[in-house]
Symmetry: C2
Subunit: 324 residues, 2 copies
Amino acid sequence: MSERTTVVIQGVESAGEVPGLEALAGEASFRCANSLGALRNALPGAEVLLGWKFAADDIRHAFECADRLRWTQWGGAGVDAALFPALVESDVVLTNVRGVFDQAMAEYTLGMILAFAKDFRRTRALQRERTWSHRLTEKVAGTRALVVGAGSIGRAIARTLRTVGIEIEVVGRNARGGDPDFGRVHGSEDLDRLLGSADWVVLITPLTAGTRGMFDAARFAAMKPTARFFNLGRGALVDEPAMIEALENRAIAGAGLDVFTEEPLAAASPLWEMENVIVSPHMSGDFRGHKPAMAEVFIENFRRYRAGERLVNVVDKRLGFVPG
Amino acid sequence: MSERTTVVIQGVESAGEVPGLEALAGEASFRCANSLGALRNALPGAEVLLGWKFAADDIRHAFECADRLRWTQWGGAGVDAALFPALVESDVVLTNVRGVFDQAMAEYTLGMILAFAKDFRRTRALQRERTWSHRLTEKVAGTRALVVGAGSIGRAIARTLRTVGIEIEVVGRNARGGDPDFGRVHGSEDLDRLLGSADWVVLITPLTAGTRGMFDAARFAAMKPTARFFNLGRGALVDEPAMIEALENRAIAGAGLDVFTEEPLAAASPLWEMENVIVSPHMSGDFRGHKPAMAEVFIENFRRYRAGERLVNVVDKRLGFVPG
């Protein structure tokens, strides 16, 4: 391939906003599109689309202008916001940045767990009042975590929690043995049974038609009243009013939330005021350096695209995630 | 030994406050002493002293009444508060509860590190203001920690930090190779050199004449301006005014402090108000269950004492800690 490939970059004013693209200058010609109108103008004739701005549905609305598109690289791990019927039905290949956020999100999850176990929020509140108040803490070694989601992030979270002595169970879509990390991965049919023995429940499954609203009132009721719930997946995996009720009624002991049904979380949400809730603004994966890491995935895939090789992180558009 | 051994318990009203002692009813007769006067009355004739209340110098002041004392079990890991010249010069064996706090303190240290890396305190402050404000976080994997103190707690901290991908250097009193965990343990002569490359500096060395004030202005100046300092050892290991100045001048980026020169920390201390400082009230080791665990050490040692066996956790009273 000697001609340059036309790449549309959604969500930027200039290609310089995506770190490292200068390395592709000889092989790619970039069109930047930071609005729906610009995207509609940029897509005709382009083979490649790089979705760089996470919170935008402009790709969906401009898709009819994509007359030569063969591949879309999505700048996120969860592709729920990138998927729409016309894309699913098309031959356009969708790839994501699987792997980029794994370590940061595993650390974030462990950090939230330790913040609860060591009562750091109360320590902070007491510090503001200049009050010295000794309390007993929880030891996390020997406690039990249930990680719901067996993709690369769920796997990283489970591995990391295990290194500090937390006992781990992992629930995936289908039960399977012989897992290199966990031996057995449970299927979703075991979820309700496993919920009852977990001290920490971590939700990190992709948002699909099958998982939307999976954590409802019955699921929260199945948890131990001393358990804490963490959502780093998508807000819509949870029935948010049911979760709020479970927190208010102390059906569960606390929650660490990085994602919400509506983002930004509405100022009127009662979650902001709850002492036993961490409201984190969808940032668990966004470490300093995540953009170069995301760009690296695109650059590697672009090299493969030009060479006619198989791309990495190809999403199964009907499943809604990169399979196993 | 068929006669019961007289055991004085310092710091309690009744032996029931020390979990599990009922198992020794046939072999021990307990005298409880919750004041200096009571301790002076209780010590004559007693062979064994269990120091249960950490923040008390009544043992020192009552020691002249200890006419038959052979063994003191101290209910802490650091024995600086339990040591005084008359005890050091006596034949009384001093044991501590080495090991009991290791895991909890390792978790606490990791929790504080993650709280800084993930900016949890700012997240909490923003939550109080109902403000959604995305920020980038630090990934701890690949960062570097220097653990100053190679005893059982320092070792547990270093091991735990390493499990999440933090690179570890450990400084002990003397350099040595062939360490089962770390290969090489650095001697104190390497401290200044190593300070310059650490992102996290964790102080957990025993307080002795040789370590008092070891973290002074020069040591803080040797640290990276982006580094955070953690003290879980003793407040007097640090020149507190120098540390406050280093924090104010941003010579270092933050501190997580569980111990202070004066405890409780004085209400007038500027540390309370510093956004980049965690003021924690000497609780890092005190997990739910620490008292039964401490009592278990005493019970095991008491069994050994009665059987004429070697006690565990014998403090080298001149060094001020349990060697190796």
